[in-house]
Every structure is written in C-alpha cells, then in structure tokens.
C-alpha cells in the first residue's frame, strides 16, 4: 500500500495525470495532465466555466477528483492530508478573512491553525511584508478590495508555503492595487516559490509566468513554455477561446 502521508522526492512541485472532475454530465476538468517544476510560475488562462477554479480546488484538496492523480509537494492529493496543506498557500477572489477581526487577529488565528511556534511574531512580520502594519488594529471590514487582497497574501504566506495557488487574484482590483499585487507576486517568484495562477489578465499573467496554459471546456488546449509563445498570437487565440468558449486542438500560439 502507498503511504500518502510522506512526500515522494521529485523535481516537480506539481504533477498532474489525466485529472478529471465531473458534476453529473458536466466535465469541469477533463483529462488534464502537466508537470510544474519547483520555483516555476504557471499562468492558466481560460473563459469563465473552463474549470480553472475546480482544478485549483482539486490540487489544494478542497474537492476530490472523479479520476486521475495529482501530486503536490510530493504528496498524493487527497482530502485530509494536513502535511500537504502545510506546503501550500491559497489566494482566491474571496479573502477568507474574518471581517470583524483585525488583520493582526486574523493572522494570529491562522498562525495558530497552522501550528506556528510564534504566531504573533509571524503575523507582525507578514503584515510588514505586505505594508499593512500601520492598519493592524483596524477591523478588516473597513478595508478596500486592494488591502484585502494584500492581507490575503499575508495569510497565504504566513506559514511560508513552498507552493502558492492563486485563483483570479486580480479580480476587482484597480490599477494601483494590481501593480502592488504584481510586485508581491514577483517577489514571491524571486524567492523561488512555485506559483500556479488562474487569471483573465493576459498582460499580467504573461509578464510574470514561466509556463502558460489555456484551459477550455475542462481541457488544457495547450501548455507551453513562455519562451515558445508569441504574445500577440496568444492573445488572439485566448480571445477567440473566450468568445466562442471552444478551441481547435493543435493550434499553437508560436
């Protein structure tokens, strides 16, 4: 029997093989396979309903796949593996923060949930990292969308995970907040964190990533190295996929 509680050594931070998730007749994720090496940044684009969020939910252990396998940080992805969850941080369009608590209280709480030795100190450091230390005693309810997203980053990196999952992190941000978020992500990427991000923002997504994937109707239409992609060609293919919610397999944005 395979012991899933221990990581298997691998060059890849994420390994996905023929992953499928079906909701009745709807195939949200349909035979997705890819590898992502440690320290790489993958941007996944795709129209609404393409299955990007479901893919992240499977990879973070929030939902079970119908079939296929996935390894994250060396752990077989299955619900209920606390060791794997220590290695990942997740930022989504919902902040996962308690509105009536202060940023400091929120981070101390999550620090305790992750079993950090010094949750108070870690929370202070994380708040300073995202520039929210002066607002640490204000209620989160009073924060703007951009500040919430920065606090979400602090929450996600509090336990220093090696892999970050970002589900449309630029949604609802103004240009200044987007730039601040981009800087934070760039810093995390420079620190060799593995990052998997879904986004509709083509320029941001292509600017930061090492690998690009386009997901349409649950499938990866392509998965390429950024060096092999011509930005303008990609934009044309992407907008076509969004407009028609379909993609002719085999076409490449070279």
């Amino acid at each position: 029997m395979v012991d899933n509680s221990k990581p298997s050594p691998s060059d890849n931070a994420i390994e996905v093989r023929q992953l499928r998730k079906e909701f009745g007749v709807l195939k949200a994720v349909d035979g997705v396979s890819f590898d992502l090496k440690h320290g790489e940044f993958l941007s996944i684009f795709g129209p609404n309903g393409a299955g990007k969020t479901t893919l992240i939910k499977i990879l973070t252990g929030l939902t079970r796949p119908s079939s296929g396998t996935a390894r994250v940080a060396g752990y077989e992805v299955e619900e209920g593996i606390p060791a794997m969850r220590r290695e990942i941080g997740v930022i989504s369009h919902s902040s996962a923060l308690y509105a009536d608590l202060t940023p400091l209280e929120n981070l101390i709480f999550f620090g305790k949930m992750y079993g950090l030795e010094h949750p108070q100190e870690s929370a202070q450091t994380a708040l300073e990292d995202v520039g929210l230390a002066p607002r640490r005693h204000d209620r989160v309810r009073t924060f703007s969308r951009g500040m919430l997203q920065r606090l979400s980053i602090a929450r996600a990196i509090l336990h220093e995970p090696s892999i970050l999952f970002l589900d449309e992190p630029f949604t609802g941000l103004d240009i200044h907040a987007s730039n601040v978020l981009k800087e934070h992500l760039q810093t995390l990427h420079n620190k060799k964190r593995t990052i998997l991000m879904t986004t509709h923002d083509v320029s941001c997504g292509l600017e930061m990533c090492d690998k690009v994937a386009l997901q349409v109707m649950g499938q990866f239409a392509f998965f390429e190295d950024i060096k092999d992609i011509v930005k303008e060609n990609f934009e044309t293919l992407y907008f076509d996929a969004v407009r028609n919610n379909q993609f002719t397999m085999g076409i490449r944005p070279h």
Partner: protein, 226 residues
C-alpha cells in the same frame, strides 16, 4: 500543546473575540429567549396551572428556540468571505473545526441560559436555588446534545439557501429523545424529586449526547466537503 487542541482553542478564541466585538449572537439569543418566556407568562393562567408543571416546557422552548438562532449564525460567519475555505486549507483535522464550533456554541448558549434562569425564577415565582445543582446538570446535558447535533446540522445547512428554515426542520425531530428527557427531568427536579430517582433519563440523555458527538465525528469530513 497538542496541535489538535491548539486548533480547537484557536477557533474558540476567534469566536469569542468576534462575539465580544459584535455582541450579535448573545444579544439576539437572550432577547429571543426572554420574549418567549414573557409571551408564555401572558398566555398561561398561573392561577389554574402550576408553574412547576408548565415551567419546564416553557424554559426548554426558550432555550432551544433561541439556541437555534445562535446555531444558524455559527457557520454563516464561517461562510462569509470564504473563511470556511481558509479553515479547510489549514492543516487541521476537520473534527478540530467541529469541536471548536461545538465548544463556542455550548459556551455562548450556556451563558445565555445562566442569564435567563434567574428571570425565569422571578417571572414564574419558582425558587430554583435549592434545586440549582441538579438543574444545572440537566441543563448541561440537554445543551450539550442540542449543540452537538446543532453544530453538525448548521454546518450542513449553511450551504443551503433556505438554511434558516432547514436547520430547525432537520434539528428538532432528531432532538426529540433529548427534549423529552430534559423536560421530564426538569419537571421532576422542580417537583422536589432527587436526582437519584431519574438515573434512567440521565442515562438516556447522556447516551444521545455521545451518539450525536460520535455521528458528528464520523460525518463532519463529508459534510464540510463542498
């Protein structure tokens, strides 16, 4: 401290800090329970029926109905801003989430009950002082069972649009054994009977408390999964 216990205490700490800041839960439960008792006072003619005969039923109706308000809020707070997702991403056993919420609910409801008891005593002119210890034991057993099952079902109902309706519909039928037990015991205590004479009821109520907690431990993993 063991990680499991530290996670349970973190959830309880978080719920307490939130409640201290908002005071939403306690004030809503307390006012509702008080209103229930006041309505019964005006609708029951205490010169015809004995307060010790109708009192137990009224007291538990107030406790359970107001407790349902608290249970409804319990997991709704976790659903706001996707906080439950944040909890589920933490390296915590799902039962730690359940026990954290169970303890918070139990403590909030118990505090509310402690505030309601003296008012009940005054309105119904019943001297509870001499029966206080056995009465507190019975209230604890009933409240534990109510919170054990209620916490599980509120986590289930929190995913539904009609959660305010669904929680009582799911909860009350399953609570019948405990309600019968605690109302009978409360009546017997107010009639001056010793606790030793109601060991069967205590055993029944405690057994259901254990069953509800056991079922919750077995099912919370699947219920919290989206």
């Amino acid at each position: 401290m063991n990680l499991f216990l530290s996670q349970v205490s973190a959830i309880v700490w978080k719920d307490f800090v939130t409640e201290l800041k908002t005071r939403e839960l306690f004030s809503a439960m307390f006012i509702f329970a008080l209103l229930v008792i006041l309505i019964f006072i005006f609708s029951v003619n205490l010169s015809i029926v004995k307060a010790s005969e109708v009192g137990p039923g009224i007291l538990w109706v107030a406790f359970l109905f107001s407790g349902t308000l608290g249970l409804n809020r319990s997991f709704v707070l976790e659903k706001e801003n996707g906080c439950l997702m944040g909890l589920m991403l933490a390296p915590a056993d799902r039962t730690a989430i359940y026990f954290g919420k169970l303890i918070s609910n139990l403590v909030f409801l118990s505090i509310m009950e402690l505030f309601i008891l003296p008012l009940f005593m005054i309105f119904f002119n019943i001297d509870l002082i001499e029966y206080l210890l056995p009465l507190l034991l019975v209230i604890f057993l009933g409240t534990l069972g109510f919170c054990a099952l209620g916490t599980l079902l509120s986590s289930l109902a929190s995913n539904l649009k009609t959660r305010e309706i669904m929680l009582p519909i799911l909860l009350y039928p399953l609570l019948v054994p405990i309600v019968i037990g605690v109302v009978r015991m409360t009546g017997q205590i107010l009639a001056g009977e010793p606790l030793s004479g109601m060991m069967n009821w205590i055993g029944l109520t405690a057994s259901f408390d254990i069953i509800y907690i056991g079922v919750s431990i077995m099912t919370i993993d699947h219920i919290l999964e989206e």
